[in-house]
């Protein structure tokens, strides 16, 4: 059994909570005491139906205001797969939460109300999913029961979305007509949509091939921690612990360490359960090398003929996540893989209107939830790849050095 992480974006109106409630309920992941608590809370609020949103909106402020504010993580499993849902809010003022949820997702579900068709919000959600390079997208055309399961309505929405998605470079798209409330095409194919020949949503989630989404070509191993027991049993042991970002490593492989550029070979790949013949993402292992080199946290192990260029000038798409706006010349701390470096914003190329994708090249700052393209310079070189090619070595976060808060997420477009 493997693991699939997916993100859902939407608001109560789109039926997002109903959909999640349905998936959890049908996979028997809602418990009777949780359901009883939700029933009691719904009754107390005077709702005339069981409000499944109360199941997922966990914070007092969310329940009081009836909105989803922050990302919540939910879990369910079928005999085929374990699923982690990043349940994110849909409103534009929570774009940063959506970006957060999408950052680790293998798949994103964008929900539309069949009665309303594609709206600004659906395009924004699809755009954010592709910006974060979520490899699989599902457009769930919900509330099909309210349009008499009309093939025509479904096809119109599908065609419109497909032509929009073509502009976004969506790697893999499925469009599924559903009724989250009644369960049509959620677990099994619905008899109400004989004109639809695709899988049910759950079948799609269970059978989607995600193993090949990882980058298994470019070997990247950011050194996280150096293990030196200096014990009687292991007096000379020196291993480099970390999580494989991409590519495959094997004992005997010739490797290069950046930024020093020294080369050597892998002598062993250790785990507490014994040595392994190979390591691939996202394994957490400890690598031993043939030669003793000066290697520390923040260094990158790669292959001599496939190495990222150590770079200090970085072009990136940025999602700004804090109230105080980003200004040119602002100094920040950048965290990329296991390396941190001070950075300065050199230029704001443009701010993107996330609804229309219009680029405002006159923008002089980025505000909370804005997305834009910027250039920055770091004090030390970073070993980066374009985010399009490598999510693990193409993404970074920016921290405020005074408050220590995380204030932006960046996706590298190019570097030198």
């Amino acid at each position: 059994m493997d693991l699939l992480r997916f993100a859902t974006a939407g608001s109560v109106d789109d039926g997002k909570s109903t959909l999640i409630g349905r998936l959890l309920y049908d996979s028997k992941s809602i418990f009777s005491d949780q359901l009883a608590a939700v029933e009691a809370a719904s009754a107390a609020k005077g709702d005339d139906y069981v409000n499944l949103a109360l199941l997922t909106d966990g914070l007092r402020a969310e329940r009081e205001q009836g909105i989803t504010i922050d990302v919540a993580y939910r879990y369910f499993a079928t005999p085929r797969r374990k699923f982690i849902i990043a349940d994110t809010p849909g409103h534009i003022q929570y774009t940063r939460n959506m970006v957060t949820g999408a950052s680790t997702a293998d798949l994103a579900i964008v929900l539309v109300d069949a009665r309303k068709g594609l709206v600004e919000q659906s395009r924004r959600h699809a755009f954010i999913a592709t910006l974060l390079r979520v490899p699989h997208l599902v457009l769930a055309v919900n509330k099909m029961d309210l349009v008499d399961f009309s093939a025509q309505v479904y096809e119109q929405i599908r065609d419109e979305f497909v032509s929009f998605a073509a502009k976004l470079n969506v790697p893999d798209l499925a469009v599924i007509p559903i009724s989250a409330l009644l369960g049509d095409n959620i677990v099994t194919r619905s008899p109400n949509t004989p004109w639809y020949d695709g899988p049910s949503l759950l079948h799609h989630l269970e059978n989607l091939h995600v193993a090949s989404d990882r980058n298994l070509i470019d070997t990247r191993f950011p050194v996280q921690y150096v293990i030196r027991p200096q014990s009687a049993q292991h007096p000379d042991y020196r291993g480099y612990a970390g999580t494989v970002a991409s590519g495959v490593l094997k004992p005997g492989d010739e490797i290069m360490v950046l930024p020093s550029g020294f080369t050597t070979t892998i002598s062993a790949i250790d785990t507490p359960d014994g040595p392994v013949p190979e390591a691939f993402p996202p394994m957490a292992v400890t690598i031993r090398l043939t030669d003793e080199l000066d290697i520390s946290r923040g260094d990158m192990i790669c292959r001599p003929h496939n190495a990222p260029t150590p770079a200090q000038n970085i072009d990136a798409m940025l999602c700004w996540m804090t109230e105080r706006p980003l200004q040119p010349r602002q100094k920040l701390l950048l965290k990329h893989t296991t390396r941190s470096a001070r950075a300065m914003i050199k230029d704001i190329h443009y701010r993107l209107d996330v609804n229309t994708l219009h680029r405002d090249e006159t923008a002089t700052h980025l505000g909370l939830n804005d997305i834009g393209r910027i250039q920055l310079r770091t004090m030390q070189p970073l070993m980066v790849d374009p985010y399009q090619r490598n999510r693990a070595t193409g993404g970074f976060i920016l921290l405020d050095e005074t408050t220590n808060t995380t204030i932006a997420a960046g996706m590298i477009t190019s570097a030198s």
Partner: protein, 302 residues
């Protein structure tokens, strides 16, 4: 030619994520401590810490916030496990804190809520900048919203509305003096994952997790052990039943469930088919309000 798939099971993927988190804390924060109660989640967390640094020893201390209301089987297990690993155990004792006047014994004798000041006091006294906790997001809806690296201000408080965004596997552990980070390496594990991992790894657990005969009585629909910390009141009659514990906490608050599951296989089958959440079935402390956990976490609870 077949192309290798490089597949990983969900348990190995979760394990790798947790190991990454634990290493990240040690690399970035100066004085971490691992909260270890002898319960199944903290036992798994300790195993993951062991794996993260193998063949070196775990490079931090282990702390138990001890309410004084313990199951003897659990204390015995705690001490044995700590000795095996060669790590140093600190005990932050609630009874001592009551004696010192740091906290006052609540009239109902339950010590869950007064653990918080004791924990905060111990963290501050030893200047720990990070504390690993075994909490999982599937346990409670407030926890479902909490970060893996959860920032605490100088009063140890959690501010759910003002959490740091957490993207990819990039964690922000930067703090000022006096502030701290609670780290939850098991955030993405479920109760079933824990049990499957325990079985796959052959991890030992205190015996009370498996079905046994015990004298219990019913209170508010839950089964409490008749022991020195929790006596039946008039009208509550103890009887001998076959039970096991799904969670291990304060012995005056943690309820048992009726069960025939006396082996790992049977426990996994039981957990996979249960229709009641772990905390709902066993914790008196979460029943007070819709937001009981959120409120306690704001104060600095685990």
């Amino acid at each position: 030619m077949t192309v290798p798939e490089y597949r990983m099971s969900h348990l190995r993927a979760l394990e790798a994520e947790s190991v990454h988190v634990i290493r990240e804390v040690v690399a970035e924060l100066e004085r971490p401590v691992l909260l270890f109660s002898g319960g199944k989640d903290s036992i798994v967390m300790l195993r993951l810490a062991e794996k993260a640094f193998w063949p070196a020893r775990i490079p931090f201390l282990v702390m138990h916030v001890d309410t004084g209301h313990n199951f003897p089987e659990v204390l015995e297990f705690r001490d044995r496990r700590v000795a095996e690993l060669g790590v140093q155990l600190l005990v932050a004792s609630v009874p001592d804190a009551i004696e010192r006047g740091l906290v006052r014994e609540p009239p109902d004798g339950t010590r869950n809520r007064i653990q918080t000041p004791v924990l905060l006091d111990a963290l501050e006294k030893d200047r720990f900048s990070a504390a690993f906790g075994g909490a999982r997001r599937d346990e409670d809806k407030a926890r479902a919203k909490e970060r893996v690296f959860s920032f605490r201000d100088e009063f140890g408080q959690w501010d759910p509305k003002n959490q740091r965004p957490e993207l990819w596997n990039l964690y922000n552990g930067r703090i000022h003096l006096g502030e701290s980070i609670r780290v939850f390496p098991l955030s993405n594990w479920t109760e079933l994952d824990i049990w499957q991992y325990v079985a796959e790894e052959g991890i030992g657990l205190p015996s009370i997790y498996f079905a046994h005969q015990r004298s219990v009585f019913e209170r508010n629909g839950m089964l409490y052990a008749d022991n020195e910390f929790c006596r039946p009141r008039p009208g509550e009659t103890p009887s001998l039943r076959r039970v096991r514990y799904r969670t291990v906490g304060d012995a005056s608050l943690t309820a048992a469930v009726e069960s025939e599951a006396d082996t790992l296989e049977k426990v996994i089958a039981e957990v996979a088919s249960t229709r009641v959440t772990e905390r709902g079935a066993t914790r008196g402390d979460d029943k007070f309000s819709e937001a009981a956990m959120e409120d306690r976490k704001r104060e600095g609870y685990f």
